[in-house]
């Protein structure tokens, strides 16, 4: 028997974790009593990993890179999700995307309203923020100066983004599920004006990381975990209704109406992706983009970050 420490954040993108935790996959792999740690943000998971805590963690690719660069012996053994960021616009902003060229939406907004559009996202260096910048620069073709002149980007946490959207303190947000579903549910004029692949093709999202020591000492356990992970991903794609209960228990601590959870899962079903090979290129693109933006300050050895053997072996079987 092996006692495992598992860290996670209560967010939709790592839904696989909740399914694995709720079915008896771990138990049958010989882990009777895993210790769960719920974190509210990426940096805390990184610190815990650095401090030698946690054998397994579900976190964003950004924090995973940071943890690896800072010396944590972790490997990405599977992906959770890709292309999961959406650009939500409220009634004030969405018309500029509906009628006319998206590339000029923000400049037209400013010309009409006489003020910058206010867009909310997660703190600098986070995945949503990176995707927002990538979208503005590489998809809409705005220069950094243009962005500065037309958009006020503000950085908030999940609760604040929601509150800001609900009170119309902002005009839009680049954000994850379940916020997108919650806002769509409560604000009829909110609209997704750009999503996933439209913002950052092959953009990596959350990943499953495992400590190297665990890989070395208990490869069979890691293999079982990845196997369950793949099965969970399939379930999320094929049968989201089935996953609602497990996911709802963790996301929002069970306080979200099942309808919204289901909605969020359905919105994301095509983005769930277990194959780590699928995100290696995207990770490199993101890494280089962040380095160019100046938001990634550490040197990351991307080769050492991934360990795709388990996934590849399982797929071959």
């Amino acid at each position: 028997d092996k006692s495992l420490e598992i860290g996670y954040m209560p967010i939709i993108p790592i839904s696989q974790a909740f399914i694995v935790l709720e079915n008896n996959a771990l138990e049958s792999a010989g882990v009777s009593d895993p210790k769960l740690f719920q974190f509210q943000n990426g940096p805390a998971i990184v610190q815990a990993l650095l401090a030698g805590q946690l054998d397994i963690a579900y976190l964003g690719i950004g924090p995973a890179m940071v943890a690896r660069a800072k010396g944590a012996d972790i490997k990405v053994v599977a992906s959770n999700i890709v292309e999961q960021i959406s650009m939500v616009a409220l009634g004030s902003l969405s018309p500029y995307f509906d009628n006319g060229d998206a590339n000029t939406a923000f400049t037209r907004f400013k010309a009409d309203k006489g003020r910058n559009a206010v867009i909310s996202t997660f703190p600098r260096g986070s995945v949503p923020e990176t995707v927002l910048q990538y979208w503005l620069q590489n998809q809409l073709g705005m220069s950094r100066d243009e962005i500065k002149q037309n958009i006020d980007i503000i950085y908030q946490g999940a609760a604040q983004v929601q509150q800001a959207l609900m009170t119309e303190a902002v005009d839009g947000a680049a954000i994850l599920e379940p916020v997108v579903s919650i806002i769509s549910d409560r604000k009829s004029d909110a609209k997704v004006v750009a999503s996933g692949s439209g913002m950052f093709p092959h953009q990596p999202g959350a990943v499953l990381v495992v400590r190297e020591s665990l890989i070395n000492e208990h490869p069979e356990l890691v293999k079982a975990l990845v196997k369950a992970h793949i099965a969970a991903t399939e379930q999320l794609r094929d049968d989201p209704e089935e996953a609602v209960k497990s996911v709802g228990k963790y996301v929002g601590g069970g306080r979200l109406p099942a309808k919204i959870v289901l909605n969020a899962l359905k919105n994301s079903r095509d983005q769930f992706e277990a194959n780590p090979n699928a995100i290696i290129d995207g990770t490199r693109t993101m890494h280089d983009f962040q380095a160019a933006q100046g938001t990634l300050k550490v040197k990351v050895d991307l080769e050492a970050l991934f360990d795709v053997r388990f996934y590849n072996d399982l797929v071959k079987e």
């Binding site: 719920q38 974190f39 509210q40 805390a44 999940a158 609900m166 601590g253 069970g254 306080r255």
Partner: protein, 260 residues
């Protein structure tokens, strides 16, 4: 005090009544703000939906484990922070050497926010009650440190003279006989502030990943369940009120000597 007590405020019952009136007025204002649309719909929780939210938290068996878990690091953090704040404050105020030695360091460390400590707390204590208690203790520490420092500084020096005149020399003896009772009022005011401060730091501390009410509040806020947020705030208030009242009794006991 300057003046006579108001007739209603003279009995405990009257005071309780006034207290309830105060709260009721507040709840009414709140409900009015919520229904009159002072802010966008859905952004202000509805006070009348709180009982339902409380019931949900209770039946889903999230409430009690969260409360108990929070209490563990709350009590430890409060106790350690209060004790150390009191100790360092007293030492710094009574020894000019220690005072000068730590003055700059204190200035540097004082304004560091609990959230910044969270990151380092994990490094030192891992994700554990100890780490959360550490973060809470820091907030409590400073409050007590300043209150004690200032109170000890302001003890009437004539009583130190008195102690020396009666051969009660030695730092410890004077600390017990003069400093402590002379500074008690200020120290108690600090402890009392700290009891509240500790709850205020709780959410930050639980960002660490330690379960408890702060974490529940965070995840409720994260999905826009503001009624639940308020439920936890109220429970925190309840526990706080209990501890504050208890402390008020202790304070009154210890400070019987004050002219009422």
């Amino acid at each position: 005090m300057a003046s006579q007590a108001h007739p209603l405020a003279r009995t405990p019952l009257g005071r309780a009544l006034l207290g309830i009136i105060g709260v009721a007025a507040f709840v009414m204002l709140w409900k009015y703000a919520q229904s009159a649309g002072w802010a966008a719909a859905g952004t202000i929780p509805d006070p009348f939906k709180l009982p339902q939210a409380l019931a949900d938290e209770w039946t889903s068996e999230r409430l009690m484990p969260a409360v108990l878990s929070s209490l563990v690091h709350y009590i430890w953090g409060l106790a350690i922070g209060t004790f150390l704040g009191f100790l360092v404050g007293t030492l710094a105020a009574s020894s000019s050497l220690l005072d000068a030695l730590h003055a700059w360091l204190a200035r540097i460390l004082r304004p560091i926010p609990p959230l910044a400590w969270v990151v380092f707390a994990i490094a030192w204590f891992k994700v554990s009650h100890a780490g959360a208690a550490f973060v809470i203790a820091i907030g409590v520490f400073w409050v007590n440190y300043f209150a004690t420092y200032s109170a000890v500084r302001n003890v009437d020096s004539r009583f130190y003279e008195l102690a020396r005149a009666f051969g009660q020399n030695g730092h410890l003896r004077q600390a017990l006989q003069v400093t402590l009772p002379g500074a008690a009022t200020g120290i108690f005011s600090g402890i009392r502030t700290g009891i509240g401060q500790a709850w205020m730091t709780l959410i930050a501390a639980e960002l660490l990943g330690v379960p408890g009410m702060g974490q529940e509040m965070n995840s409720a806020a994260g999905v826009g369940a503001y009624e639940v947020v308020v439920v936890y705030m109220l429970i925190i208030s309840l526990v706080y009120t209990l501890s504050d009242t208890l402390f008020g009794f202790i304070e009154k006991r210890v400070l019987t000597w004050r002219p009422s």
